[in-house]
Every structure is written in structure tokens, then in C-alpha cells.
Amino acid sequence: MPSRTAQIRLMSSHEEVYEPCDDSFALVDALLADCNNLLKHCPTLCMEIGCGSGYVITSLALMLGQEGLAVNYIATDINPLAIRVTRETMDAHGVDAELIITDIASGLEKRLAGSVDVIVVNPPYVPTPEDEVGVGGITASWAGGENGRSVIDRILPVADRLLSEKGWLYMVTLIANNPSEICLYMREKGYASRIVIQRSTEEESLHIIKFWRDLDIEGDNEKASADKSAPGRLMEYVLTQLPPFTFWRCSDRDNK
């Protein structure tokens, strides 16, 4: 039976490109858990922002590619070496995507606005000094500045612009990124959110969040802008979205 995710033994690599790790596996696990929903959703265009080694976009293409759906995949990365590695990884797995070297989605935003049905992103989320952000090379894959939010905060409005009416966004975050604040920001743009996977390793506490447009929220936002008690109601809503903390160890992967 063909694998539904990328296989480590087929992955390409380069010392300046982020290799798949717990965060990549968690994101792919989140997609796998939602796979039936994704297939029923019939996405036409799927995009990864920051494809790195190609592990996630390859896995997504494998997951969705076996049902005769016609899906087009696009992946971007600011690191040309990452794009090269992604191409090699995709070739090794017999899948294909349009690859573009760019910063987030620069150059694509105007024409792709409102057109992308699924966006997946494992952003540089590690809290670092600001001067490590935008340095290039492999550092770009993790350096997230204050609270690890520098790049995330640039990605969110771009994702909002690119997503179609039925668009879904899956994003990896750390507790340190203040996921509830991220969900609040997205709620103000009309998105509901759900933590689809919560995973703690020795070093990190990962939250994989799914966002989707919710007309009820858009309606609420319009009413709330006229209502003085809005901030309290929004925070109450966000707190109800976070499940009680669950914790399990990262499952072992064969990454040899």
C-alpha cells in the first residue's frame, strides 16, 4: 500500500536546509488526522509557505493524490537551497508542485488572492533576538524574533488574503508564540480556530492550529465593533477554544 506521508529514506537534504523534525511530523499528523475532511473538501489549490526539505508538501500531495482529485500544489521558500531539496524530495516520491523562491508569497499575493483552498505552514517560530530574523540560510527556518512571532505575524495577513471562502490554514505554533493571541487576531478577521494537535517534547510545546472562515464570527465581529463589551466577549470565546491541557510524548520516528 503506498505511503500516505513522505518517507525519511527518500528525503533529500542539505546542511543549510531544515530537516524534518517533531514540528514537521506534528503538522503532517494533523493533516493525516484531518485527511478525510480534506478529501471531502475537494481543494483545488494547496500551498505550503516555507517548504524546507519538502516533507510536508510531499506528504500532503501523497495524502490527497490517491483519490483521483485534481489538485495543484504550490510551495515557496526564501532559501533557494530549500527549494532545490524540496524538488528532489518530491521527485523521489513521484509527486509534483510548482516551486517558487520568494519571501512568504511575495509576487503571488495579487493574482492568487482568494484562491487558495489549503495553506500549510511550519513557520520560524523560535523566540530569538530580532537581529537573527531575516539572516538567511538555515537560520531563516527557525529564527522568529520576539516571542517567535516576527515571521508568523507577517504570514497571517498574507494567508488571510490568499485563502478562498472555504480555505483552511494549518499552522505550527509554540506556547511561547501565544497561540490564543494568534487565534484572537484571526477571529477578528472572521476565522474560527481549533487546536488539532498538541504535542510536548523535551524542548518544545507545539500547538498545531487549524483556521477556517466562519460566517457567524464575521457577523459577530460586525456587531462587536458597535458593542463596548467586545474585548471581554472575544477573550471568553478564545478561552473556550483551548481544550484542557493534554500532554503526550512525541512518538518515535525512524529518522535515520
Binding site: A70, N72, D96, E98, L99, I100, T102, G107, K110
Partner: protein, 122 residues
């Protein structure tokens, strides 16, 4: 880089108001067959800017597409076949995409466009 992608790219240089479409300089074009899906083509047809698409296909050496199209054109299997070929089976492997306003060249190598800007263009 497929023509579908080309039709979704515009110049991202600061201050450029008319950055679409990018002009194609084709040095190497390859053809790779891929299965046709009429539903996908019909959805993409709605998003494609036709004039830009037909100019781009000519720059890639393909001249079979009609100048004028409308929703009824999609009913023709022959058209769908040509549309599919131009949209998904022609790849710009080596060349450049040129900003129509500034003339700045975005290189395309091994089928991958590089849209990274220099510091003064951001």
C-alpha cells in the same frame, strides 16, 4: 514553471503599479505530459487572465490557442486539450520573467522562478 504559475505571478517591486503580466524570456522549454482533468481546467479557466496566458504560451513556442474565449469555448474538447497542454504541460526550465514596468529580470532556473527582491526594491 508552468504557465498556470506564470499567470499567478506579478512583479513585487516596491512602487510598481502595473506588474502583471511578467514578460517571458524563454531559453529552454520542456514538455511533460500530465493527465487531464476537465473539472480542474474549468475552475482554472475562471482565474486565468486570458491575454496574458496566450501571450505567454506564444513566448513558449505554442501558438494553438484561440485569441478570444468565452465560457462556451470550454465545451469544446479540442479546446480543453489545448488549454490543458499550455496550462500544465509546458515548462519554462531556463529563462527569465521580466517586470513590465521596470524591466527587472527575475531569473528562472531549473524550472524555478526566483522572486527574491534586493534591499532597495522592497
Amino acid at each position: 514553471m508552468r504557465l498556470l504559475t506564470h499567470n499567478m505571478l506579478s512583479s513585487n517591486i516596491k512602487g510598481v503599479t502595473n506588474g502583471f503580466p511578467l514578460r517571458i524570456e524563454a531559453e529552454k522549454v520542456v514538455e511533460k505530459t500530465v493527465e487531464m482533468n476537465a473539472d480542474f481546467l474549468k475552475k482554472m479557466f475562471e482565474k486565468i487572465q486570458w491575454k496574458a496566458f496566450i501571450d505567454a504560451s506564444r513566448a513558449m513556442g505554442y501558438t494553438e490557442l484561440p485569441e478570444e474565449v468565452d465560457p462556451t469555448t470550454l465545451e469544446s474538447d479540442e479546446f480543453l486539450s489545448k488549454f490543458h497542454h499550455a496550462l500544465l504541460e509546458l515548462h519554462l526550465e531556463e529563462g527569465a520573467l521580466v517586470c513590465p514596468e521596470t524591466g527587472r529580470r527575475f531569473p528562472v532556473n531549473k524550472g524555478i522562478p526566483n522572486m527574491l527582491l534586493h534591499e532597495d526594491e522592497v
